[in-house]
Symmetry: C2
């Protein structure tokens, strides 16, 4: 299988490693707005060659869109215009805006909307790693608008890694993503700012930072180039979850002020139920 990856960053690059390693892809073409990303991807042997978009599409069986989600809004209609029998898939974190945009495109069937639920706080081709996606879950959205052969090819791609496939309607996907991914990032960004503001006065605060702190603020290292477009496209859902999260924190605040430690204890017990989800 010949595969073009448009956007050779963390996700595109890691996918390239997996698909080359397991033999699903025998040739990988990189396309990127930044030549330095392509140069790095060639040096790291993430891709076999880099080509301009049109040539890459002509030479490929599958075209993977792995850019930030704002760039996809320009890219997907353009790629749909150019494909014939090729299959296009995206790996973006938001779906509704993108799918609304191409719903009436005559080639809509060639496109399969997917979201592999994996990532790290790092970005760029230098951040690409093996096994990022192994045994994780990937979401397929609005499959009734995709051609059967396209769905089969993309399913085979993910099963080769292997990843589990879950189907969701695109609005439902965007709400779920706000809960299990986007709010975690906002919480980390805010926590980092809270602590960094304090650090201005106190040099030594970070000598004390332990594993728990690192774990909760790790995502605050994430790139704004990736996340601002996600927050922009998923604004309404993110606002809903953010409101709920602020309400939960305000409830804790009020319990501390009232010194109602019995209720606080009960709420911590309630939150402990997250154990059943996390390994």
């Amino acid at each position: 299988m010949k595969i073009s990856i448009i956007g050779v960053g963390l996700i595109g690059g890691s996918l390239a490693i997996s698909l080359k390693e397991n033999g699903f892809a025998h040739h990988i073409i990189g396309v990127d707005a930044r030549q330095d990303n392509l140069d790095k991807a060639i040096r790291r042997r993430l891709i076999d060659e880099d080509l301009p978009l049109e040539e890459a599409i002509q030479k490929s069986d599958i075209i993977v869109l792995a850019t930030p989600v704002d760039a996809m809004l320009d890219l997907l209609p353009k790629v749909l215009d150019l494909v014939d029998k090729q299959v296009i898939m995206d790996v973006g974190s938001t779906k509704v805006r993108l799918l609304d945009l191409v719903v009436k495109h005559p080639k809509r069937g060639r496109f399969v909307a997917t979201h592999p639920m994996a990532g790290t706080e790092h970005s760029g081709p230098e951040a690409a790693i093996p096994h990022l996606f192994d045994n994780k879950c990937t979401v397929f959205c609005d499959l009734e608008l995709s051609d059967q052969d396209a769905i089969e090819k993309v399913t085979a791609l993910y099963q080769s890694i292997p990843m589990r496939v879950v189907e969701l309607e695109s609005h439902s996907h965007d709400i779920h993503s706000a809960y299990v991914s986007h709010i975690s990032h906002i919480s980390s960004f805010a926590l980092a700012l809270t602590v960094l503001a304090k650090e201005k006065d106190e040099d030594r605060i970070f000598e004390l930072a332990s594993g728990g702190f690192s774990s909760t603020v790790r995502l605050a290292k994430s790139s704004p180039d990736m996340w601002i477009p996600i927050f922009r496209q998923n604004r309404d859902n993110v606002l809903d979850v953010l409101d709920e999260h602020i309400n939960q924190l305000a409830r804790f605040r009020s319990l501390l002020i009232k010194q109602d430690y019995d209720t606080f204890y009960r709420l911590i017990e309630e939150s402990n139920k997250i154990k059943k989800i996390l390994s």
Copy 2:
């Protein structure tokens, strides 16, 4: 060295493993309010024997207080009453309340207040693990009130692991801990509640949970028996940090409402500076 560990949970048990493994302790005595904890600790060979408090103190060179911080308020004055040349150290997450309580005790000099900055979200003797403290930082508080030989013994204990020692005044310690540890836990508890509330309507939400989510809510598995006493004792500092954190989140909320993504982008870049602290 003979060491008594009062409270054979995650911290006490992990310390027992390290000190036995590196030869600093040749005999470890466990004391615990719960016999089942002692039985588990014996079965796991975390401790060599269990004894009542008075006998344990008589037979020990160093007594380590590793209970939840509320129990320490009863325990420390009692242990100070009983010691002669032995050294007492605590490993608690809050310091001001405890140190104020014993400031005038005639044996105050035998006590060294410490806080090893390490832990996990698990608790009890079954959660004790090797290497939990290796190369981490431990804080010593208000050393001017401790006897020189006591400081030397406790320093030797930590250096045997090895851990780095940092000195802080107790009020400063409690503020710093609120920033680099306590707020992370509150944030995780709140995030878990936010998502669990949503899960009541949506069964499949957690199929999508990925590494980023697990990382930010991991601490929500932490025990209320440990954390409520910490929040109670460090209430004023935790409230200050919680207010700041809620303000940061409210700022993000307001930027999303105004769709001011440029400022949001700049704030994410600012929060990225946490990179210099986290490895």
